[in-house]
Each structure stands twice: as structure tokens, then as C-alpha cells.
Amino acid sequence: MAAIRLNRVSKHYDDHSAVIEEMDLEIRDGELLVLVGPSGCGKSTLLRMIAGLEEISTGEILIDSQAIHHLPPQKRNLAMVFQNYALYPHMTVKQNLAFPLKMQQLTQDEVSRRVTQTAELLGLGNLLSRHPKQLSGGQRQRVAMGRAMVRDTNAFLMDEPLSNLDAKLRVELRGEIAALQKRLSITTLYVTHDQVEAMTLGDRVAVMRAGKLQQIASPGELYEHPVNVFVSGFIGNPGMNVLRSMLETADKVPAFRLGKYCLPLTQPVMERYPDLRNGSNQMLLLGIRPSAITLAESDERDSLPARVSSAEPLGHETILYVDADIEAVATDAEDPGSTLLRRPTLTVIIPGHRHFKPGETVYLQVDNSKLHCYDLQGDSLSPLSS
């Protein structure tokens, strides 16, 4: 059990393009930290650098304040679960589990004791003599877990360990992993591109983008107080709508204007963004979660008319994509304030199973107590999230 620290770790390849830039990160002793981000953001590289499979260019990696970045992987005493499990095809389950122990030159007895123990813990007892290709996906995943758990390691590194499984199994194993991790309370770094996995698993979640850490916080915090439009767009399913809007003063109250539709600032919003009180007539980015939008009963005057582009009825809710007279921005853009989406599309979640015809006009209302505000660079205006 140990804490892992990254101090100003950078990685760039020979052509000098940086993959990781000046990263500071701590995985606390016993916690499960999920590292999430879109593919190519460098999260796997970061994990592999900790594992010792890739070299860092500058900075240092410490395990319990011991620098380890110059050690080869076999000397770091870390266990890793790979996306495709990387079970040794020529070994049985038992041999797979025993391999790391044999490398530690434990006695025969000790090896079989630990293998049996781990196999029981994971319910692999009756599979010990099988080869990996005779196992189902879920069983392979368990063996991979077992191989990591079988010895005493400083930490687990998991590289998208569930992404090769079907949806149902993924949910099931997600729970198991979380439970196991709690039970063993072993420091774990879990890399995924799936924000649902991140939100459900992590004690804390670190969001990464293009080699940089965006935010590291508990799942709730992340959802409630994303530090920038990237995190808001990435967390939540579907992600937050971010619109460019002028903050005006209407009837002495600051309000966001969306076409003809006006969104006056409410008390909770102004409490969260104290600066907005006096700053009017400025262009800002406005974040609205799809669940904060509702359908107006009829053609009400105080609503945002929109045309249905497509609808996904999911049973318990329906996701609606509509075009409206707004300026939607790309949340994953470098400069979101000036990167408008080609189609001014808004995502809306409506409870229940509803059918819409494409082209149909709907009228939207926004819960103006749940607004998120960002400057044109995309950074949150809230002093709470910084």
C-alpha cells in the first residue's frame, strides 16, 4: 500500500510534441483514482509511465516519497491490468496467477497457497487448469485481476480493463472491482475514457485533456462544479450544452439572451457567480445541462422555440436534439468562445418515452437556477471551482 506522486512530469517524443505537460498528480494511499479523458489525451501514457513501460522526459515519479522513475518496471512492484488482459496464452489460469509469484522466487508452497487464495476470492477455483482461450471475456478479466492481486504490490494500475466486455458484464464487473478495491483498500489508478465508469467508480476522478490535467475532484464535485467547459462537456451523459450568450440587463436584472428568449439570473446563480452582479453587457459562455431544460406546455411567449432534429426515445427518458436560434460552442475546442458548432444544436432530456417528428417545432424552457457560467476561454467564473 502506498501513495504515488507525480511531480512536474512531462513526456515528449523525439519530434518534441508533448504528450504530457508538467503534470502534478497524487494518488493517495488506498484510494481509487480514475483518470478519464477522451482517447489520445495521454492518460494511458501517464499510466504506462507510472508502470515504467514508458520513460518520462522530465519530472519525477515517487512511491511513498521514493523516486522510482529510473527503475525498470520489474523493480517498481506495481501490478497492472491491461485492456486486453494480456493473459499468457501458453499458461493455464493457475500458471498465469503463479507467474508473478515465481518471479519473486517464493517457495512452491507459498505460491500455491496464494494462488488458491486469490482464485477463491475471485471465484476462479474451477477454472485453474484452463487456458485463457477457453475462458469467457468476464472470466479472463477476473484472471487478469487475480494476477494483479496475487502478490503484494504498491498499487494497481488498470488500463481500461472493462472496455472489451459487453455492456451488461461491464456494469457487473465495475461493481466487483469497486468492492474489491474497497475491501483490499489498495491504491489504484484506473484509466478509462468512459465518464460513466469514472463517475461510478472513483473516489476521485481526474479529467485529462491533451496531456494536461483539467480537474481532479470527487464525482459529485466534478458534476456540480466543473472548472471549465471541457469538463462540463465531458462529464454527464449527454454532456452539458454550452452556448455563447450576451449577459444583458433586462428589467434591472442581469439576464442571458438566447435569441428572443431571455434568462434572468436567479439568486442561486448569482451566489455562485458573484462577479455577474455588476458585469453586464459582456459575452459569456453559458452551460446548461440537458436535464435542466423542459418542454413548455404550448406556444408560450416566454420560451425558446426550436426545431426537432432527431430524438432518441430510451424508455425512461427521451433525448432530444433540437436546433434553435442560439450559438452553441464546441466544448472540446481549444478556444471554445469562438468555436461555434455548425448547427446550433441543443441536447435536451425529457422524462418518459416520447415520440417526435423531425422538423416539428417545440418550445423549451430552461431552469435558470441551474446555469453554469464561463468566460470566453472556457474557464468557470465560479470562485468555488478553481
Partner: protein, 300 residues
């Protein structure tokens, strides 16, 4: 112990694990070649008491104006020119026949592949008997049978017109199985759906062969032809055993001349010059083949 300069710099361990092979390649391939390149410009002889002299390009001009050596190169080219298409076509034909999923395929494959495990020197010796002159000779009587008695017995290995073809024939016998197996594997790697799609598109057997099989088989075909070409250029065993380059230089080859020159005549420098020429020939062939293959890739 100080940490290594780079974590993923494995130079020390590589010295240990790749060292033997690298040293082997250096000492037994690169150094000898450089040696040949140097000595080709001298008068070096094995065991001569005369002092070593640099003679410039003399060895090269002599070799290239030596009718025997020119004939040797010509024979190599002729051998390649005939054997490569012929053997490849035969191997492809056999592979196609065997790829139909007929019953007994394994037995046929075994028979066609069997000569591959015969050392060439053994094949050469045994085929001397097959080519025995006179009406009792096996090849002679076979041809007599096939021509309904029209064939006049010939002494194949002593006949300037027949000796090289005779050597070609046994080379094909020995080598076709090797190529066939490679092409067969290539055929089996072609997804059946391609044939089915082509068939649905209305392509007949011949069109499917032309437009599906051949393009899909390009890599193994290229490889097989390259290997055969190089085998044609290193032709030696059969010649040394069966004809010793004769009759009238009809079967002499670059390799045969090279070995004669250094081994029987101790003319190291001259043989080194031949080595250099041989290198250039092989490199030229490989380059040509790669070039041609790249061309077809660009066209596609």
C-alpha cells in the same frame, strides 16, 4: 549501482543477447565482403611467394572479357529466365489443383513436396543415372515412349544443347514443391468471400483467377520468384557434380567459375572480383524485383 542513462535504453543487455548474432554477421558476412572488395584490386593468390601488388581494375576487365565467365553469367541469366516463370507457373498450377479441397490432397502435397527434402547433391548424382546415354537410359526411353519411337537416344549431360535444360529439369523437380507450398498457403489466405462476391458479380473461373486470385497472391508470388531467381544465380551443386561446367561451358555458372578460380587455381583476387560481380548481380536482381513490385503497387 547508478541508474542507466535512459530507462528504456537496453544497450547493455542487447550487447549480451544480440551480440552473438551481430558479431556473426559482421565477422562472417560484412568483413569477408569488404575483404573481397579490397582484394579484387590486387593480384592475391593463395600461397604465392610473389609480393602482393595493386593491379587496379585488371581483374575486372579480364573477367568481363573472359568468354567463359561471360558465358557463365549468360547461363545464370538463361537459367533464371526459363526456370523462374516455368517453375512458378508449375507451382501455381499445382497449388491451384491442391486448393480445391479434393480428397487426398495431403497425399498429393506430400509427393510434390518430397523432393524438397532431398539434398541437391544427391539429386544431381541420382539424375546422372536418369540421364544415362543410350537407349537404356531412363530419360531416353521415356522420351522414346512418349514420341512413339521417334526419339534418338542422346547423351544429355554431354550435349551442349541439352545439358543446361537437363539441369533445369531436375532443378524444377527438386524446387517446385517448395514454391507450391508457399503459394498454397497464399491461396488459403485469400478470403473465400472475395471469390463468392466475384462470382455473384458474374465473374467466371478464369476472371476470378485473374481478378481475385492473382492480385491477392502478389506477395507470395513475388517472394517465390525472388527466391527462385536468387537460387538460379547461386547455381552450383548440380553443375559441379553433373557436368563440371561442360560441355563446352554450356552449364558453367558464376558460382562454379568462382569456386574453380579460388579453389582449384588459388586465384583469390580474381575470385574476389567475381564475388563482387556476383554481389552486384544479386543486388541488381533484388532491386529490380522490388522496383517492379513497387511499380505495380503504384498503378493499383
Amino acid at each position: 549501482m547508478s541508474p542507466p542513462a535512459r530507462l528504456d535504453d537496453h544497450t547493455p543487455v542487447v550487447l549480451l543477447i544480440a551480440g552473438p548474432a551481430l558479431i556473426g554477421l559482421l565477422v562472417f558476412v560484412l568483413v569477408p565482403f569488404l575483404f573481397a572488395l579490397l582484394t579484387a584490386f590486387t593480384n592475391l593468390r593463395l600461397g604465392s611467394p610473389l609480393p602482393l601488388e595493386f593491379v587496379g581494375l585488371k581483374q575486372f576487365t579480364r573477367i568481363l572479357s573472359d568468354p567463359t565467365f561471360v558465358r557463365a553469367m549468360g547461363n545464370n541469366f538463361l537459367f533464371a529466365l526459363i526456370i523462374v516463370p516455368l517453375q512458378t507457373a508449375l507451382a501455381l498450377g499445382l497449388a491451384l489443383l491442391l486448393n480445391q479441397g479434393l480428397r487426398g490432397t495431403v497425399i498429393y502435397r506430400t509427393l510434390f513436396f518430397m523432393p524438397v527434402v532431398f539434398p541437391m547433391s544427391l539429386v544431381a548424382v541420382v539424375w546422372i543415372l536418369i540421364y544415362a546415354p543410350g537407349p537404356n537410359g531412363m530419360m531416353n526411353s521415356l522420351l522414346d515412349l512418349l514420341s512413339f519411337g521417334q526419339w534418338q537416344p542422346r547423351d544429355f549431360l554431354r550435349d551442349p544443347a541439352l545439358a543446361l535444360p537437363a539441369i533445369m529439369l531436375l532443378s524444377i523437380w527438386q524446387g517446385t514443391g517448395f514454391q507450391m507450398v508457399i503459394l498454397l498457403a497464399g491461396l488459403q489466405a485469400i478470403p473465400q468471400e472475395l471469390h463468392e462476391a466475384a462470382a455473384l458479380d458474374g465473374a467466371g473461373h478464369w476472371q476470378r483467377f485473374l481478378h481475385v486470385t492473382l492480385p491477392q497472391l502478389r506477395n507470395p508470388l513475388t517472394f517465390v520468384m525472388l527466391i527462385t531467381t536468387i537460387l538460379a544465380f547461386r547455381l552450383f551443386d548440380q553443375v559441379q557434380i553433373m557436368t563440371r561446367g561442360g560441355p563446352d561451358n554450356a552449364t558453367t555458372t558464376v558460382m562454379y567459375e568462382m569456386v574453380e578460380t579460388v579453389f582449384t587455381r588459388q586465384q583469390v583476387a580474381r575470385a574476389s572480383a567475381m564475388t563482387v560481380i556476383f554481389f552486384l548481380l544479386v543486388l541488381g536482381v533484388t532491386w529490380l524485383q522490388r522496383h517492379l513490385v513497387r511499380e505495380t503497387r503504384e498503378v493499383e
